[in-house]
């Protein structure tokens, strides 16, 4: 597995990337690593990095705004016909869902694994 990192990416300290989310966790910064970990809870059903396509809605690389709105709607149980996403999204704060939406929206390479 070869990994080539452009210099400007290495230059950014991931730990320093803090997200200051919405109301729920206004004081709690969410680090890049924490955002990755939160997003990885999606992978068992949506595939690694959310890349699995099938009869679930694709989530990798979708625009942040729509992912975030959808997750918040699941959390508020406002999506008719939902089977399980309402039960799962209820376990996260709004700031955490925002972090998950950010992570997934940043998956630019949509190739299937």
């Amino acid at each position: 597995m070869t990994r080539i990192m452009p210099r400007h990416v290495i230059g950014l300290s991931a730990a320093a990337l803090l997200l200051f989310g919405g109301q729920a966790m206004a004081e709690e910064p969410i680090s890049y690593e924490q955002a990755s970990l939160l997003a990885s809870t999606c992978f068992a059903c949506h595939g690694t990095d959310g890349r699995k396509e099938g009869n679930f809605a694709p989530i990798a690389g979708r625009p942040y705004e729509s992912l975030n709105a959808q997750l918040i709607a699941f959390r508020n149980d406002q999506v008719p016909g939902t089977t399980v996403m309402n039960r799962l999204a209820a376990g996260y704060s709004e700031a955490e869902l925002e972090a998950i939406a950010l992570y997934l929206s940043g998956i630019t390479d949509r190739r299937r694994d």
Partner: protein, 440 residues
């Protein structure tokens, strides 16, 4: 708001960066990606062990990761019930390690791990080789507790299969079901908690009812249970009645459902109060304990299972040994492949943090267990878990089971989602594919 927007842009830039980072796997933290120090050995190539190995390499590609698993191919317990019901073939639930080896650079050693020396930090393999580690991940799954039920030893299991580890035992049970005459009685004995896959016995009788309804419609199913309540109970019982009429009879603990003795030759099960049940095919789901290597490593306690530190799943008893999956005491998280996969991702991150001198992240684990009652009838239970006041707890207001009053379209969608889930989690775990898009 300015700082939110700016940081959002930064994160997007980082994650997106020309596609290069994304192609390498954006989970890899730039801070750790280039580092090399650290030898991690994983024992057990199931949902927990394979996922841990993969995510360790994603997070820190320079790590030296070895996965020890005797079998060259792994049969999943999830969907093995669907093989019993005739809805899947065994070839569709088997997974190999080629991509983990070739794409991720994980060394896969097909040997049985015999012993662990926690002081010396070594694992001894059956071929005599010794593997040194800085961090050890054990994901040994369950062993059958052959001391736990009178009359049920390894020889008895060849006559009354448990089929609670997928593979030959599953094939044996299927062949017995195929050989049974129409009008026969199938008995399943379910154990007390804790055991692997809490909804498993109930999905299994559903699947066997599906098979009977198509091929042996006069047959009966008796489920003798050492408990008075079980996972998704209301949903299962509704589904059994709706789809299979009165084919399935469940007898709980209070109605003398607990089996205390087994006679493998006569296929008889004796209940606590002395009632004898004779079946034409008998499936004993016996008491269980953590897999053997966990006992050898000294990480189990008197319960036969492994107590772990909630944030990291490091053993409470031996430093630098992490245990994930069914072998652990992680209630209220169930012993499911889904949870093993979830625990492995959190533990991989914790190990990488520890090796790099950082604090572990705030863990969050999810679970979703689908049970397929019939080809177009699925139900689920879900949960989100965190460390709250030093203990693993389910997040209040999250999780729960499918609604009791859902319509047929909802049940059909959950059956489809079960397949989608299976295909996704095997990709996330072994980088393999499920074969079939639909169940029918």
């Amino acid at each position: 708001m300015d700082s939110i927007k700016m940081n959002r842009r930064k994160l997007l830039k980082l994650l997106g960066a020309g596609g290069a980072l994304a192609a390498a796997g954006p989970l890899a933290s730039p801070a750790f990606a280039a580092r090399t120090a650290g030898r991690v050995v994983g024992v057990g190539g199931g949902f927990g062990g394979a996922t841990a190995a993969k995510y360790l390499k994603r997070l820190q590609p320079g790590l030296d990761v070895t996965l020890v698993e005797p079998a060259r191919e792994f049969y999943t317990c999830p969907f093995s019930n669907l093989y019993l019901g005739g809805m899947r073939q065994m070839e569709q639930i088997v997974h190999g390690y080629d991509t983990l080896k070739n794409r991720y650079g994980i060394k896969v050693v097909h040997q049985y791990a015999e012993d662990v020396d926690g002081e010396a930090h070594t694992v001894r393999l059956a071929n005599g080789e010794t593997l040194p580690y800085d961090k050890l991940v054990l994901s040994p799954g369950i062993d059958i507790d052959f001391e736990g039920l009178e009359g049920y030893d390894e020889a008895a299991a060849e006559k009354l299969p448990h089929a609670w580890k997928a593979g030959d035992q599953t094939r044996l049970l299927r062949s017995q079901l195929e050989a049974m005459d129409d009008g026969g009685t199938f008995i399943l004995s379910a154990p007390d908690n804790p055991f692997r896959c809490p909804p498993g016995p109930y999905e299994r009788v559903s699947q066997i009812a599906h098979y009977f309804s198509q091929h042996k419609p006069r047959s009966k199913i008796l489920l003798l249970d050492a408990k008075d309540a079980f996972s998704k109970q209301g949903l299962f019982m509704d589904g059994w009645r709706e789809v299979y009429g009165d084919m399935i009879e469940w007898v709980g603990l209070s109605d003398d459902g607990r089996v205390v003795r087994v006679d493998a030759d006569s296929r008889e099960l004796e209940s606590e109060f002395g009632e004898i049940h004779r079946g034409d095919v008998v499936n004993v789901v016996p008491p269980q304990k953590a897999g053997a290597i966990a006992h050898r490593a000294g990480v189990t306690n008197g319960s036969g299972w492994v107590p772990v530190k909630p944030h990291t799943f490091e053993s409470q008893q031996v430093d630098d040994i992490y245990v994930v999956g069914d072998a652990t005491i992680a209630a209220p998280m169930p012993k499911s492949g889904f949870c093993a996969n979830a625990q492995a991702r959190v533990t991989a991150a914790a190990i990488v943090a520890e090796l790099n001198g950082q604090d572990p992240l705030d863990p969050v684990w999810t679970n979703t267990c689908y049970s397929v009652i019939a080809p177009e009838y699925g139900i689920s239970v879900a949960g989100v878990y965190r460390v709250i006041d030093g203990e693993i707890r389910e997040v209040e207001g999250s999780g729960g089971v499918s609604p009791r009053d859902a319509d047929a379209a909802f049940r059909r969608r959950e059956a489809e989602y079960a397949v989608q889930w299976y295909n996704a989690i095997v990709q996330d775990t072994w980088e393999t594919r499920g074969l079939q898009k639909t169940l029918t």
